[in-house]
């Protein structure tokens, strides 16, 4: 039985003996409506205070030349900041690097995370130990992960050069763009793969064992079972995990800050925005970049949802 309470309008117009029915039904519906709104109000207010107002202010500031070092020289300059940003090579290079971070890390996380999920799904012994271990990277502070990997990669005292046979002992990972980007990606992938694997594990758990067994009886190999039965049936879980992780990866900041401070061309678009507004006090330019960052996140989200046809209703658990 559904317990949907109709909205007052429709009931008022459709009651058969319209005269006395609407008030009481409306009352309950109205009461529920009011209660619902009162209960969500604090959450909405808190969420909006810290986001809506600042982003609107950023939008407004982005049309000004405004530097904290010379606040009195604030001046309306129209879309100049945007023109400057969008015609600057640096902006596009940072966008490119950011997309690279996103695509590579999510791809690795998906593959490794899926392998981990399979292991966790099958394993019977030491479940608690594995669960605890997998949650530690998830819970650990990103900055700590950044430090750990930075020290691991430095040639003076790290272990990576010593352990990798094809790398010179004194190879400087942070001396050039490609190795530095790899180091940052490693830290990022290490920290977030467990989260991915937990989401995928939950998806695996929803694939019915009967179906897999039926496929086995039908003569499917392990690969065929994975590709034709298991993965298609956990599509929703995979897509939701990809969407969330991709948007997270697109906003990469902490690891870059800690490991290279943006040097050697490892800067992401988030880092560029941060540098302009906080380090160089260029609030006008910083705000324009903030707006562009916001818009680019929306675009990325839109593209992922469209491209992979992610069902957000499913993501909401409805």
């Amino acid at each position: 039985m559904t317990t949907t309470v109709a909205t007052p309008e429709t009931d008022a117009t459709k009651g058969p003996k319209g005269k006395r029915t609407p008030p009481q039904l409306t009352e309950r519906a109205r009461h529920e409506n009011n209660l619902g709104r009162r209960l969500v109000a604090p959450a909405v207010v808190v969420m909006l205070v810290v986001t809506a107002f600042p982003i609107l202010r950023a939008l407004w500031l982005s049309f000004y030349s405004y530097s904290l070092t010379a606040p009195e020289e604030r001046e309306f300059i129209g879309i100049s900041n945007y023109v400057t940003a969008l015609t600057d090579q640096l902006f596009w290079r940072d966008i490119g690097i950011t997309v690279l971070y996103m695509v590579v890390t999510v791809a690795f996380e998906l593959v490794i995370g899926f392998a981990f999920a399979l292991v966790m799904h099958r394993v019977i012994f030491a479940r608690g130990l594995i669960r605890t271990s997998i949650l530690i990277p998830y819970g650990i502070i990103t900055v700590v992960s950044g430090f750990a990997w930075q020290f691991a990669f430095t040639y003076q005292n790290g272990f990576v050069n010593g352990w990798l046979p094809f790398i010179d002992a004194d190879f400087n990972w942070f001396g050039d763009t490609v190795p530095a980007v790899i180091a940052i990606m490693v830290s990022e992938i290490w920290k977030t793969t467990p989260f991915m694997s937990l989401l995928l594990l939950a998806g695996l758990a929803q694939v019915s064992e009967d179906m897999v067994e039926a496929a086995k009886v039908d003569g499917a190999t392990w690969w065929q079972r994975m590709w034709k039965v298991v993965i298609p049936n956990m599509r929703a879980a995979i897509m939701v995990a990809v969407l969330f992780r991709a948007l997270d990866a697109y906003r990469i900041f902490d690891n870059i800050f800690v490991m290279t401070a943006g040097a050697q061309g490892t800067e992401s678009i988030s880092f560029l925005t941060y540098r302009q507004s906080i380090e160089q006090f260029q609030l006008g330019m910083g705000s324009a970049l903030a707006v562009l960052l916001f818009l680019s996140v929306l675009l990325v989200a839109f593209l992922i949802v469209k491209l992979f046809r992610v069902d957000l209703a499913q993501a909401r658990g409805e």
Binding site: P54, F253, Y274, L283, G317
Partner: protein, 277 residues
Amino acid sequence: MKQKIGLAVGVVLVLVWCLLPVAWILSLSFKSQSAVSNGSDPGFLPLDSFTGLDNYRAVWEDDQFRRAIINSIGISLIATLLSVMIATLAAYAIARLEFRGKKMVLTTALAIAMFPVVSLVSPLFDLWRTIGLYDTWPGLILPYMSFTLPLAIWTLSAFFREIPWEMEQAAQVDGATSWQAFRKVIVPLAAPGVFTAAILTFFFAWNDFVFGITLTSTENARPIPAALSFFVGPDPFQRPAGLLAAAAVIATIPIVVIVLLFQRKIVAGLTSGAVKG
């Protein structure tokens, strides 16, 4: 048999993957500062450079770091508490009541979950300085709340949805007011969910870096991640790796404790909202 071996190898790989960097930073925290800076003991384990708890002692005596721990604990706990309280109300309404604007709330939450935090820092920085929240606890608590609310609402409404409707209706028929039904039936049943949401919220607040470095300037409110990144030892040109590692280990202890105690709940919470349907 072949499968079993494969599985065991898989388990070992997972464990190594998860624990190796942790072991590494732990090992680093026991190496002496001089050995780290001149690279005299480059192995994974501290062999001839073992200094015992020296690094920990040094970190603990650092006033800024001690303040950072207090800040992080205080700010994260308060933000968690407030966020979960507000989220419980909102999640209950979303899971159980019909009201206009519900879609709007869900969309807002989703939008904020995807929000690029960095794009807020410059206006917030400006605003906080104007109204005097810059470098204060509330100045961090507020943004932490707004950015943890979507996660908390998400997790909690998934939990609320799993409580059978009948339970609440039975309470009403038994003579309970809406409030009594909520207090005596729904809240006790949702308690595990609320607790889980609190852990996830705490993790988020504890991990935050962007707000931590942009909205604070002194040890007044600077949390651990920001303090770690600004940690400068005696030699400003060389990162004090041993000290940093010790500080990082200390910052990780609360996480490990929480994970050890509540791993089951955390996994349930992380995966609840994500894969329904």
